[in-house]
Point group: D2
Chain length 348, copies 4
């Protein structure tokens, strides 16, 4: 089968691989649609290390091709998605409610395209299939559910773990795909004063369309000043960091009211600094909560419900479409953020 | 009246002041017992700025001397305590559940000995008396409730906001008065594997007496290695920081399991750095929760119940006793941590 | 001044009373708009006992006329609302987070038109004014904020204490003013499959307009069967009871999934029965959570923000308008639910 | 193998059965110790229906005899327990945090001795072994962990889901094995005023030994009056029902403060009535939370930690010991509550 494989920093190439063998708890999925994540670009650039030869990709939409001997409750031919995070459901971490940290290892639940072969391929093996295969409602297309495995789950958890409540003021820093989904999530949970911050006006236009009340282009105005001013100096109840930089993290702290929550989604590659004045020297009752994308089939079921109910329409996120054969071209476009790309649908 | 007043960095002196005028929502308390806090030493050294001439002290035990015109429900002569934090109960922050951040200002609830005159004096004015005066049960002595206003409330909130549950592994870094109370608090909430870390063996002896299962002198062994080893590499569910340094904060992160909570009580005077490897680059579902001492009369009532029930006996914390007349001497002893001092009772 | 006073069961009459004296913690409000609540009708009918001579009404919109001597932070002439529930903010219950149960008494926070004179009058005294007066944003009319003191606060708390999450299935039983607001609240918190049940098709039309996905007229079909069928037998995550009858409570239990939450808003006048099969004999991990309307100025501020942001537009609730002089006529219309009445605005 | 089988109401007999076949996700456990639960007596009496021929028992301590083909991470010969509730970990309910309601069915997680053969036998098949087998620490005996699968897990969850906090007043109604464990649990979570109610003085002696502050024999005094008096009319923060009768449930409501939580553990066989005066007609912000015993290997691991740490010593619960051969005699003793029996250890 064809698979997009990490060869060395700078090179992800389409190559041939054998179709994987199905273990007793696995399912083999024929991939119909997948996409490229910002994390995959980090892998491409060698910023996030994976073993050479690994198939990349963690956002699978497809059809059940074969089921492991111990897997019950599914049938061959079913349309399914699996989350980017594929918890086993049966280890101490999963049973204790930390499914993303499956096995008790940091990010342990992120296996596809990280510690095992991923889904930018014709076929992908889903581990612990019974915990992870989520049937797609008949009336939803592949593209309608393509954001569920990662983008939507991650963005929403920013609002969820931030504890956004009806009537809250919320600021979301960065409006890439994750940040846009955090904006949708904050709106869905009842934020009534919602700030979206980014440096691209076209992104901010999308933010407004998705529910932001106020958009702030940080190249045009200081977002900290703007938000403090708009809240009469009060600050926001929840600030969501959706990029992974010192600057956005620090801005989140500086717009947060005493007692507020900084919900962090970013992947930080360097040291972070917390200036004491920005969090009241530790006496402001602030919380900093980091979250990894929740996975598992129940999460996917709920997110697909949100799509099906019309509460969130993420189809506009797919700005470009490529065949798997053209995936190297797709990486080139996405890694360089050309042509207003938000997300790319890759079909087989 | 006599009052211990901040004159300039390095000098807190006992001086004469007029007895304060009682406003309509205030109560005047004749102080019978109070104590010196580590924060007061920061003030003494000029590390925490207050206005010159301010009376220091935020841990009052005393007797109602006079009640404001609008104050009902109390009577002159009642024995009472008030918390270090004196929330008004009626502002947006207080009504929203952020009483320590009263008025929406960072640390806004900390008024005594910070923004208004404190209680290292013969009399102290308690603002918003109806929210703050907590009658002392008859069978408790001044010394038995002396830790309630700050030390006990702060230490316990470390365990409470850390969300310690029955069966948790918990590490408390630093075993000063606050850390010792955090150890008690973690034990009271059901921690079943409780590590206490400090550099003084005499403190660690107290920790064991108060409920720590394992004590670690960081001068003798690496606490991170020791804790990871004792938890079979799993890490702790909750790590409580009770000092306010880069080193203890970082150690907390390094012993924390994915999905765990770092509950921070320390006052940080410099920049803090979060090394990305210590919190899984933001993907470990970690929480960092900072807390200021909860106050208000309901908090004080509950803490005094804990004392009255015998669940916690903090009398051994009082290692030294001085009269208010000798308070400069008491500061000298406490600031230099001589003679195994934990806390000093100051009586009038 | 004119005031609507309970005389005896069956009679609330407009009468003359002296303007109240302002105590030190009170504020006198000149009422500009108020409304009649279903609870007032219970009082009228003698089903809910109050003392004879009491002024009825707990939903005040008005202007500050006079402030008590101990009240700071407000000025005469300000437009304000106060909640139906007026917590003191300073008792053990309030400081412990149970503001509606102020003073530790059941419903202790409900004072206006219950234990003290209410606001169906030209003037009303607001107790503990500093905790309760909420300034109205200039751009909002009286009618826009008229639902905040009770209807909106009560309905929303049904969704809030029910713990509605993004992607939940939620059923709201009864679509009177409270139930309609519960429907809005559930939608605002992210319910993605929202059932509204009532016996009046005109009410259900409003429900759909406010965000219900599916409406069920219980006179036309069995709501339990309909909801179980629409959820493929799974049941709902949260069921909200908004009427106060055995039948609606029991239906809530019967549509609830194991582990689900029944959030109860109704006032029950008789014994309630829980059939063991409807809650798995106590082994289904169900929760039954009852809630009284939250009050206090912070709650009011947040609700007015929701209105101001456009997230909820409750102006259509006002179906009829009367002058205070005509309030007996208004009671007659409202008590008999004539003419499609939802809520009546009473102006002075 | 020998197995205690339900034949008909009134008869559980020891009989011969084939050793079960091991499916791919199962484990076969050789039972070394088990016990009889109050629920088993309900089965015996025909009050809780199970199919005829079913092996009874849901509290297994034993040794791994054989592992299914898909089971990894365990080895033959390991000493293990499994919870009374054996969640799969991989269905929507389990992944959503409702493991006891596995499969979305009420009590769906209770399989052993209910919907599949149980462990009052020489061997028992544990379903979904990877989620359920919990290795026993070497230093703990069978009897030390015998209460973990059900009694301890159920009793503790009463305190946990009741949200007991440091400084709470808590009442536990009924001091059978579950109620005694609820008393331990409430103490472990920090209750500082703990009432235990029962009709047997010998049970109440055990309660006091386990941490109750005040014991009340309901045959000697009215527990509602006694508790209200001891709390100065305030009521308790949390009331735990540990029997399953109208009388105890109603007493719980009557001692509960406004805003308090009734945590219900009982199995109710008849209709329950909630008198409106006992829960403020639905306006007291009360919660009624029912819970089924939590299971799964992570829960078992944590409970065994509590035992290992010495926080709870449940060995005194084992008042009698029988061999499996004598199990009919054991049932007779236990069902008739003769001879001061609390729990019986059955060994093979």
């Amino acid at each position: 089968m064809k698979a997009a494989v990490f060869v060395e920093p700078g090179r992800i190439v389409l190559t041939d691989k054998p179709i994987p063998q199905v273990g007793p708890r696995d399912a083999l999925i024929r991939v119909t649609t997948t996409t490229i994540c910002g994390t995959d670009v980090h892998i491409l650039k060698g910023e996030y290390p994976v073993v050479r030869g690994l198939t990349i990709g963690h956002e699978p939409v497809g059809v059940v091709e074969e089921l492991g001997a111990a897997v019950t409750g599914y049938s061959v031919g079913q349309r399914v998605i699996a989350g980017a995070i594929t918890p086993c459901g049966q280890c101490h971490s999963c049973l204790g409610g930390n499914q993303s940290q499956c096995g008790g290892k940091p990010m342990g639940g992120w296996r596809l395209g990280n510690t095992i072969d991923g889904c930018q391929a014709e076929y992908v093996l889903i581990p612990d299939a019974m915990a992870n295969l989520a049937p797609i409602p008949d009336n939803l297309t592949d593209e309608q559910v393509l954001m569920c495995p990662d983008i939507m789950s991650t963005g929403f958890v920013g609002a969820e773990r931030g504890g956004v409540r009806i009537g809250d003021s919320v600021a979301v820093f960065a409006q890439g795909p994750i940040g846009l989904c955090a904006t949708i999530g904050a709106r869905l949970r009842g934020a009534s004063q919602l700030f979206a911050v980014d440096g691209l006006n076209e992104r901010l236009t999308v933010s407004r369309h998705l529910g932001a009340d106020t958009t702030i282009n940080f190249r045009e105005q200081n977002p900290v000043d703007a938000i403090l001013s708009a809240t009469n100096g009060r600050g926001v109840d929840v600030a969501i960091e959706a990029l992974g930089t010192q600057s956005t993290l620090e801005s989140c702290l500086r717009v947060l009211r005493p007692g507020g929550v900084l919900s962090s989604l970013g992947v930080y590659s360097g040291k972070l600094t917390l200036p004491p004045d920005a969090f009241a020297a530790g006496l402001g009752d602030h919380s900093i909560i980091t979250s990894l994308c929740p996975g598992g089939k129940e999460r996917m079921r709920r997110l697909m419900n949100v799509v099906e109910s019309g509460r969130a329409d993420l189809r506009p996120f797919v700005t470009h479409r490529f065949k798997l054969d053209q995936i190297e071209e797709a990486y080139d476009l996405f890694a360089n953020q050309r042509d207003g790309v938000i997300k790319i649908a890759i079909t087989t």
